[in-house]
């Protein structure tokens, strides 16, 4: 809740001045990048803060030399696979923990929770070995499979299921709905806002993966946008304007997605989206 005292007159002007000043500071790095991305290669050092000369050539060349079209496709396919799979696996396992009775339920739930304690960074050495043994280096499977299920998602959806009124399941049973029917027609629709947040989160965390694709994609054709930026920055170390343009191209889709899905993002972050 905002505070009840509203500023007036000079205080109001001061508040706006402060807001604008801080906004300029926060946006400053983004502004410099965008201006740089539209500069021709030989002008990148002139007027770094102002778009005095504008061209699309730099962006075009970064797109081509950085193989960014291919990287964007790879990232999109992998992120969509991960998103859909995380929602499905989380709903199924959350349903089992919330509505099914079976021996060892507490223990299995404990195992799920325990996986939250293992940072992905500690398992990459062995996971790379596993992916290599499966012959999945440089493939969609290799990039996506380790992330198809998360204990975090299970935990989040289970909380929603547990908060549904107990009578709901009883009433559904009276109407002849089995577990599958109840899951599809009652539980999932009621959990939709949380599933939206979970989906956005799965997508973002997959899209933003950095360490994993640099380890799994040894061939440039299998770079995601993140590891592709790394490849571009190493190949074009003497052409900073290309790297800048590539960075802007890669950043743009996520900015747009987040503008549209701000609400889901806030919900996801504040629900304790700890596995970044």
């Amino acid at each position: 809740m905002a505070t009840s005292t509203q500023p007036h007159g000079w205080r109001l002007a001061g508040r706006y001045a402060l807001l604008i000043g801080v906004a300029v500071l926060v946006l400053f790095p983004i502004w410099v990048m965008v201006v740089g991305a539209f500069k021709p290669g030989n002008k990148v050092l002139q007027d770094p803060l102002l778009p005095t000369s504008v061209t699309l050539d730099t962006l075009r060349q970064a797109w081509r030399d950085g193989n960014l079209g291919r990287s964007l496709v790879n990232s999109t396919v992998v992120a969509l696979l991960v998103t859909v799979a995380q929602v499905v696996t989380s709903v199924l396992s959350a349903y089992a923990f919330a509505f099914l009775k079976f021996p060892g339920r507490t223990f299995v739930f404990g195992v799920f929770l325990a996986t939250l304690l293992v940072p992905f960074e500690a398992t990459v050495v062995v996971n790379r070995e596993t992916i290599q043994d499966l012959g999945w280096l440089n493939s969609f499977q290799g990039l996506a499979v380790p992330f198809l299920a998360t204990a975090f998602g299970t935990f989040l959806v289970r909380q929603v299921f547990l908060q549904l009124p107990k009578d709901l399941r009883e009433a559904a049973r009276m109407d002849g709905l089995g577990h599958l029917g109840f899951l599809r027609e009652v539980a999932v629709p009621l959990a939709r806002p949380t599933l939206g947040a979970l989906a956005l989160f799965g997508f973002l965390s997959s899209w933003n993966q950095y360490l994993w694709p640099t380890v799994i994609s040894t061939d440039d054709d299998w770079d995601t946008v993140q590891s592709g930026l790394r490849t571009l920055s190493q190949a074009q170390i003497d052409k900073p304007n290309l790297v800048i343009a590539g960075t802007v191209i890669v950043a743009l889709p996520i900015f747009l997605i987040l503008l549209v899905f701000q609400r889901q993002l806030v919900r996801g972050l504040t629900a304790g989206a700890v596995k970044g």
């Binding site: 960074e121 398992t123 900015f255």
Partner: protein, 293 residues
């Protein structure tokens, strides 16, 4: 079939996909890393042999591990308190019903949209001594050899990039925390004659307690797991001054790059360090769920 077992087949079917993935890519690799970590390997990485568990102690005591550990802790100490303070500042600044506030909130949240690669390359460019704007303005060390190439400033420079990249996350979380503070608390403080600063320190900060704990724990855990910043901005250098624990395990310039046994040992030690943080993290989670949203 007894009642106890009636749901069991369905439960197995529902849990199998998650258990398969978590088992194969979380639990198995952790166990295997623990096993690999105790093996002594030849200088080129091959020919690994079991030889007691004292390799963990040797690794822990080694100068390389100690330095990387110290870099990691200092990185967290540089980024977390400043990041939290800035996030609170922005959130309090934007916590008024004023015209255009939606725009400012979007701007303040915007860095959440930058991946580690995007944010790092932005700052690499800004700080680059030959083309960077910031390098020009700051001058001195920033111009020669460059903030990222000087041993005494490199970690600070990486920290600035990381603080900026995490600002959007902190702003969003703290804003949500502020919005859950009941307005009448402020009103009664106002009636009691509390000024702006008093209301901030006696109402806002205490009521934000759980939110700040949550944000602080997440930021700390992120700082300990940071990798891309070091890989893209400094490559662990100069002279190991930005070789974090993660960079020591995975970095291209790491001296243990080709030694699976040592890599696994450091990875397991990283896990143990993070275990303490993760326990706090889950406590924070439970708390939030407990209070609801």
């Amino acid at each position: 079939m007894s009642r106890r077992w009636r749901d069991a087949p369905l439960a197995v079917a529902f849990l199998a996909p998650s258990l398969a993935v978590l088992g194969a890519f979380v639990l198995y690799p952790l166990g295997r890393a623990m096993w690999l970590g105790h093996q002594r390997c030849g200088a080129t990485g091959g020919n690994c042999q079991s030889n007691g568990w004292d390799q963990y102690i040797d690794v822990f005591r080694s100068d390389e591990f100690q330095q990387a550990f110290s870099v990691t802790v200092r990185f967290a100490l540089l980024t977390v308190p400043v990041g939290l303070a800035l996030g609170i500042g922005l959130a309090v600044l934007a916590d008024k019903h004023l015209r255009g506030m939606g725009f400012f909130r979007t701007v303040f949240s915007s860095t959440v949209a930058t991946s580690v690669a995007v944010a790092s390359l932005m700052w690499f460019f800004l700080l680059n001594p030959s083309v960077g704007v910031l390098a020009d303005w700051i001058g001195g060390v920033a111009k020669d050899p460059g903030l990222l190439r000087d041993e005494s400033t490199a970690l600070w420079a990486v920290a600035v990039s990381s603080i900026w990249a995490n600002l959007g996350f902190t702003f969003i979380v703290v804003t949500a925390g502020l919005q859950s503070i009941p307005a009448d608390l402020y009103e009664s403080a106002y009636v009691d004659g509390a000024g702006g600063w008093m209301r901030f320190s006696n109402v806002t900060i205490p009521m934000l307690g759980p939110t700040l704990l949550f944000a602080g724990v997440v930021l700390t855990s992120r700082a300990f797991q940071s990798y891309g910043e070091f890989d893209l901005l400094t490559g662990g250098g100069p002279n190991g001054s930005t070789t974090s624990l993660t960079y020591l395990v995975y970095g291209n310039n790491s001296i243990i790059k080709n030694n699976d046994g040592l890599q696994a040992a450091v990875a397991v030690l990283l896990f143990l360090v993070l275990l303490v943080l993760s326990v706090l993290q889950i406590r924070g989670l439970e708390r939030r769920v407990h209070y609801g949203n």
